[in-house]
Structures are given as C-alpha cells and as structure tokens.
C-alpha cells in the first residue's frame, strides 16, 4: 500500500470538447465538479420554497443570501451591493466546491492555482476597471495615504502600488495553498491508517488508531477551512471593491 497524496489533484479528461489553437479543450473531472457546484447552488437557491415561514432548504438559501449581503454592507457599504451577484457567486461557488471537495473521492476545484488565479484576476480587474470608471484618476489616491510625511511618501507609494498589484497573487495563492496543503495532509494521515493496517497486522490495527484520530480531527479542520477560505476570498473581494467604491478611505 503506497500513499500517493498527489493523485487526488490529477486532471482526468473525460471527453474532448474541441480545440483552441493547439490546446485541446477537454471536459475534465474539474469541469464536472464545477458543474456539480453550479448545479448544487442552483438547486439550493431555486428549489427552495418561497414560504413566509421558511423550511430547512429555504432557510439555508436565505441565510446564505443574508450572510453575503451583510458581509458586503459591513465592509463595502450599501454601494457595494452593486456587486452582490458577483460576490455571492464567488462565495457560493468556492464554499460549495470546497465542501464537496472534502468528501472522499471527489475533486477540489480550488486546489488548482489556475482556477483561483483566474477568479482573483477577475476580482482584480473588476476593482481596477470599476475604480477607474467611477472615480477616474482620483482612484489612484488609494496609493497616497493621508498624513504621511512628504519625504517618505515616495517609498510608501511604491509599497502601496506594489501591494496593490500583488493582491491577485496573495488572493489566489491563499485559497489554493490552503486547499492543497489541507488535502495533502488529510490524504497522508488517512494513508497511514491503511498502511499500518495492511502491513503490520493486529499491531497495525491498534497502531492505526492515532492517525485515524488525527484524520478525523484534520477532517473537521478541513471542513472549517473549506468554508473559511471561501469566506476569506469573499471578504477580501469586498475590501478590494471598497477601495474602488470609496478610494478616499
């Protein structure tokens, strides 16, 4: 029994959709789980009732709605509600796909940097374009903090500009690395249980208790991380959008 904690991240093409240039566009397991996430969200939001007194499914749908709405209002103000559909889509897409991803034998979309980078760049360009569209050149005042002495202003501005352009990097890598590392750790510890059980017989069965307990604890942690990283991604999006909406702080 050998442990291959990387196997879970393999992209397996299921069938080919077509070609763009010399790239083959395939419908992969990743595509399948993106589709599953979209369908689950659609099911949650559309199949829930519209009762005055909500049932369980409707409660979940309404709690998600109000949770995202209050997050936006508290970080980006009521003007941020313009981006409600975007942030709701981002949060739900990541939350649902991450939660589906912790089920064994599934695939975690956010464990691929290209996916998180694409989403982070979507946010980055939304902030940049909306900020410039709404505030014009005043948008660049986010690089000039108030109350900084003039002789260190160039340095501060340089740091601000750098951090602004590094936002998509940290935004995407945070999510990607968390999902990747968590899943690898989970797989390694779960693998130990099987390895001990298969190789050492009765002693192994006994010895497997510790890694099993760790696996359970890690699994609980991963459930938390799955939600938390989606939330962190969404709240950072709100904070970045707040810069675009209110560049004067």
């Amino acid at each position: 029994m050998k442990i291959d904690p990387i196997h879970q991240f393999n992209i397996e093409p299921l069938f080919t959709l077509g070609h763009i240039g010399n790239h083959t566009i395939a419908f992969t397991n990743s595509s399948l789980f993106m589709l599953i996430a979209v369908l689950l969200i659609a099911l949650l939001m559309l199949a829930s009732g519209r009762e005055l007194v909500p049932g369980r499914l409707q409660s979940v749908a309404e709690i998600s709605y109000e949770f995202v709405a209050s997050t936006i209002r508290s970080t980006a103000g009521s003007e941020g509600m313009k981006f409600f559909p975007l942030i709701f889509s981002l949060f739900m897409f990541l939350c649902v796909s991450n939660l589906v991803g912790v089920i064994p034998y599934t695939f975690t979309i956010a464990s691929h940097l290209i996916v998180t980078a694409a989403l982070a760049l979507l946010v980055f360009f939304t902030v940049l374009i909306y900020g410039l569209y709404k505030n014009g050149l005043k948008f660049f005042s986010i690089f000039v903090p108030h109350g900084v002495p003039i002789y260190i202003l160039p340095l501060v501005m340089f740091i601000e500009v750098l951090s602004f352009f590094l936002r998509p990097v940290s935004h995407s890598v945070r999510l990607f690395a968390n999902m990747l590392a968590g899943h690898i750790a989970l797989k390694v510890f779960a693998g130990f249980v099987a390895m001990l059980g298969f190789s050492l017989g009765a002693l192994g069965w006994f010895g497997g208790v510790l890694p099993l307990a760790l696996t359970i604890a890690l699994y609980a942690l991963e459930l938390l991380v799955a939600f938390l990283q989606a939330y962190v991604f969404a709240i950072l999006t709100c904070i970045y959008l707040n810069d675009a909406i209110h560049p004067g702080h």
Binding site: F9, P13, H23, S31, A37, I41, P54, I114, A118, V173
Partner: protein, 188 residues
Amino acid sequence: MAESHGEAKGQKAGAHTEADGGHHGGAFPPFDSSNFASQLVSLAIAFVALYLIVSRIALPRVGGTIDARQNKIEGDLAEAQKLKDESDAALKAYETELANARANAQAIGNETREKLNAASEAERKALEEKLAAKLADAEKQIATTRTNAMSNVRGIAADAAGAIVQQLAGVTPDANAVNSAVDASLKG
C-alpha cells in the same frame, strides 16, 4: 509568503510523484500547464452560468421572499400598533365619558341640593314673615287695648275725682278742671 509556502509544497509533492513513477510526465498536477486551457474554459463557462443564474433568478427570488416577509412583518406590526392605538383611544373615550358622567351627577346633586336649600330657606323666610306680622298685629292689639284701658282709667279717674269732690264739697266740679287735674296727675 503564502506563495512560497505553496510553491515549496508543490515542489516537494512533485518530487514525490516523480519518485512514485509519475502518471502525467512527472508534473505536479496543479502546475501542469497542459490542462490550464481546459480548466479556464470550463471555469469561464461554469462561472458565467452561475453568475447569470444567481443575478437573474436566484437573488431576486430569495431577496423577494425576504422582502415580502419583512413587509409582512412590518405590516403586521403597523396593524397591531393601529389596533393598540384604537383601543387606547377607546379607553380614553370611555374614561372621558365616565368623568363627564361623574361631573354631571355631581352637578345635578349640587343643583338639587341648592334648589332644596333655597326652597326651605324661602319657606322659612315666609314663615318668619308671617310670624313677624302676627307678632306685630298682636303687639298693635296689645297697644290698642292698653291705650283703651288707659283712656278708660282716665274717665274712671275723672268720674271718681268728680264724685269725691261732690261728696266732700257738695259742689259738682267743673268737668274741664277735673279732666285737666286728672291728666296732670296721670302725667306726674
């Protein structure tokens, strides 16, 4: 910081895969650029579809339900407030009515008492007047009687004086002299 962490993990894990024999030419799957295009295309399709579903149907639907509930709750609260105000007003009207009735009752009582007082006062006055008149009459009668009696006393005194003078002197005195003597003596 986070990036370098992920990078390090990736490299370590990649090395591990290679050591295991590697299925995909040894590349660590998350950094295997050969599947980037497929993932980007499916992500774009999935996310755009999700965005459209969310923005066009899901959020208006759920938001509408929440708003409808909010409106219903506010409407019900307003209705309850209205009913409470109405009952308060009714209570106030009742209390005003009660106070009015009480005031009326008191007024009627006072009026009756005053009327009765006035009537008894008037009766008492009439009685007193009547008694006073009777008293005055009686006093007048007494005075008349006394005057009459007094005049009778004068006549009797004059007669008696004339008779006494005749007996003593044998002369019938002049009536006028007797009368004036009697008057003087009655006065003295």
